[in-house]
Amino acid sequence: MEDLLIQALNGLASASSLFLVASGLTVIFGVSRIVNFAHGSFYMLGAYLGWTLVTRLPEGLAGTPFGFWGGVLLAALITGLIGMVVEMLLLRRIYGSPELFQLLATFGVVLVVQDLALMAWGPQDLLGPRAPLLRGSTDLLGLRFPRYELFLICVGPVVLGLLWLLFHRTRWGRLVRAATQDREMVSALGIDQRRLFTGVFFLGSLLAGLGGALQLPRESVNLHMDLAIITEAFVVVVVGGLGSLGGAFLAALLIGELHAFGILILPKITLVLVFLVMAVVLVVRPHGLLGRASAPVRGAAAAPDPPVGPTPRPLVIAGFAALALLIVVPPFLRDYEVSILVDLAVFVLFAASLHFIMGPGGMASFGHAAYFGAGAYGAALLVKHLAAPMGIGLAAAPLAAGLLGLAFGWFCVRLSGVYAAMLTLAFAQIAWSVAFQWVEVTGGDNGILGVWPAAWANTKLVYFYLTLALCLGGTLLLRRVVRAPFGMALRAQRDSTLRAEAIGIDGFRIRWLAFALAAAMAGIAGGLFAYAKGSVFPTYLAISRSVDALLMVLLGGVQTLSGPILGAIGFAGMQEQLMRASDLWRLIMGGVIIALVLFFPQGLAGAVRRLWEGRRA
């Protein structure tokens, strides 16, 4: 009983912290429709800045209540200002871009901030001081409970109350609410949207910074805080309903308590539990607990996708030339270089499979790594438990991934936009948790070792040719399918759901099968990757891999069939080179991503295509 009470209180305390971060995220989304990945970075910055301000105080202030609390508030304020600057310099330019591009840009900010924080504060975990006035614990119903946790429990409702007052009792707050409901109407009424947006970013980032700084007495400050919190904050915001403060509060309570009690009751599946709840909520209430379908943004509809014509001759020639090089050159390369080529081939198919559902399908997937991982684990599990030969392992890879795609896709393709992206993310996290926590079968964090190719393919060179054949085959098959009736039907339901239904196209079925086909192709890539590395790990299904795939597709350009190929080569090649050449690869990579979003919104292939068409025109 006592345990339960303590856990309940712990849950409330984490719910409060979570709410601080999620409230900022949801307010920003409500107004700007930007899913702000960098929100977690602001949280981390708040914590680091707070640490510096609190620990590096001049003599007289150190350790005093004023020093600590002043430092926390100042850290939040500075974070708010940083958020404002990011909005003015970057996000303001891309409000008209597709959702995923905005996501990509904010992810670029995440990378940049990670390296800047590393430079400023170093790689080691930093321990913050305890909070003056709130040290020690207090008796509560006969239990000893840390005072700081009690304080945190109060912070959540207080902030909710203050935000409520701000949004309901001030002119500015009413404008924000109006813009959340109908942005275009607000601007038609003569309100300067830019100042409104900048203000909202200041507020949102300030809340994130406050959330981060308030963590100082609870846990160490480190460089992984950003992505750890942003995933949870996404879950909270999506479960609560995008743009809904009350929803975020409810969802934070739900998730906080779920964590607290999950550890007591089902420690094995805590990770799955949170995402399972999110999946259930999204399936039952597609707009979250308190969310409503947002008014469509009128007039801002993106230009229609360009038609898919026959492959231009020069491209065919370039393709054949590249293929010839890939066949002739590798025997003269070192093993290490050949293995890089293997990786590239794998990533090309992985990216092409994601592009298939994103481009022609018009669906957003934020969890494509699940199917890559399913292919890898599908093969590796057969090897580990049944000692299956490589042929069977490679055949099982697309099968396992395709079946998983059928299962997950059945839910995911019902939703659209950000909600669909988040549901795919939830399912991917569930898959990751299973790989991570079901140690008896998957080996958990240690993965599965000894997944080596068959004897005949056991040199780097032969394995490269095998990979090239399969990945090229898969990629070309997808290109073929895009032009076939099935791919046309896929594009048809993307272009106009209304018209598609009116000529007998079952949009759900088409999207569902396309999702499964893409999953199967990602599975082939995953299976080949497993045999190339000789092992599989839960990281194969991690968010960062899903993000990698997204980056490849968006880098290359969603609107062209060659996009994912160029994107995969460009991204993986750049990452590889940067990681070897510079400690600051994240900084450079983030900068490149931001530059691409700003200057090449159609991706690499789109830019090349425009150059080409411009020259011919």
């Binding site: 038609p307 009736p485 046309m488 272009d495 239904e501 007998g504 196209i505």
Partner: protein, 251 residues
């Protein structure tokens, strides 16, 4: 003449608003039936219940004697109902011909084929349909860049792709120039008579309605208030009241 579409007792409410109440009518093969009424009369609601975009609260819709009430649009289409929209809906990333090919492929049940390029399928059939609506020269243009009148004609070609028994046209001439309107309606009427297709259309332009409809039904505030040949409807005092305002009738 044989009855193609029969509607009886159709009703739909949105919250407390009774958009359509107890509407019933029938359309014969080869007949042009116009559904008119002032703004908010329930024309579009009525229309959307016929091909399954909205589920009626009450009433029956029968197509060639078969009950299709509440069937989803794609099944209604498979039973032979073509549809054009008030705001045109076409596939913007495809060429004009591909738009029609899509409907033909769907009609042939070949949507799940993965190998042969779709552009090679039913080329002659698609071009014949486009020629029928006067769009043959634009077959290779991307539909996203078409002029509005051309989009309406493309929609007609798509709607004809599965050899429908019934065409539902919601404001077929909205947004078109006067001369184009007459041309499109003459085209439609010709096709309807020639192929024995029943056509039900809503329309704001009374010139179009009285020139091309064989019969007219009038909706007001969700109820059917008049039905008959154009001259009779024109002379109906209730219809005049609805369109010209009560003031004229009373003095």
């Amino acid at each position: 003449m044989s009855v193609v579409l029969e509607v009886e007792g159709l009703a739909k409410s949105f919250g407390g608003v009774r958009a359509v109440q107890g509407v019933g009518f029938a359309v014969d093969a080869g007949e042009m039936l116009a559904l008119i009424g002032p703004n908010g009369a329930g024309k579009s609601t009525c229309f959307n219940m016929l091909n399954g975009q909205l589920r009626p609260d009450a009433g029956r819709v029968r197509l060639l004697g078969r009950d299709i009430t509440g069937m989803v649009p794609r099944r209604v289409w498979r039973l032979g109902v073509g549809r054009t929209f008030q705001i045109t809906a076409t596939f913007g990333s495809m060429t004009v011909r591909e738009n029609v090919q899509m409907a033909l492929l769907s009609h042939a049940g070949r949507l799940l084929h993965l190998w042969r390029p779709a552009t090679d399928a039913f080329v002659a059939e698609a071009d014949a349909l486009l020629a029928r609506v006067g769009m043959a020269e634009q077959a290779d243009r991307v539909s996203a860049i078409l002029a509005y009148g051309d989009l309406k004609r493309l929609e007609l070609a798509i709607a004809l792709a599965n050899a429908p028994r019934l065409l539902l046209m919601d404001e077929p001439t909205a947004g078109m120039a006067p001369r184009e309107r007459v041309a499109l309606m003459e085209l439609t009427a010709g096709i309807a008579r020639e192929s024995g297709i029943a056509v039900l259309f809503t329309e704001h332009d009374m010139d179009v309605v009285f020139a091309h409809a064989d019969r007219i039904i009038v909706l007001d505030r969700g109820r059917l208030i008049a039905e008959g040949a154009p001259p009779a409807v024109r002379a109906n005092p209730e219809v005049q009241a609805v369109y010209l305002g009560a003031g004229l009738v009373h003095g």
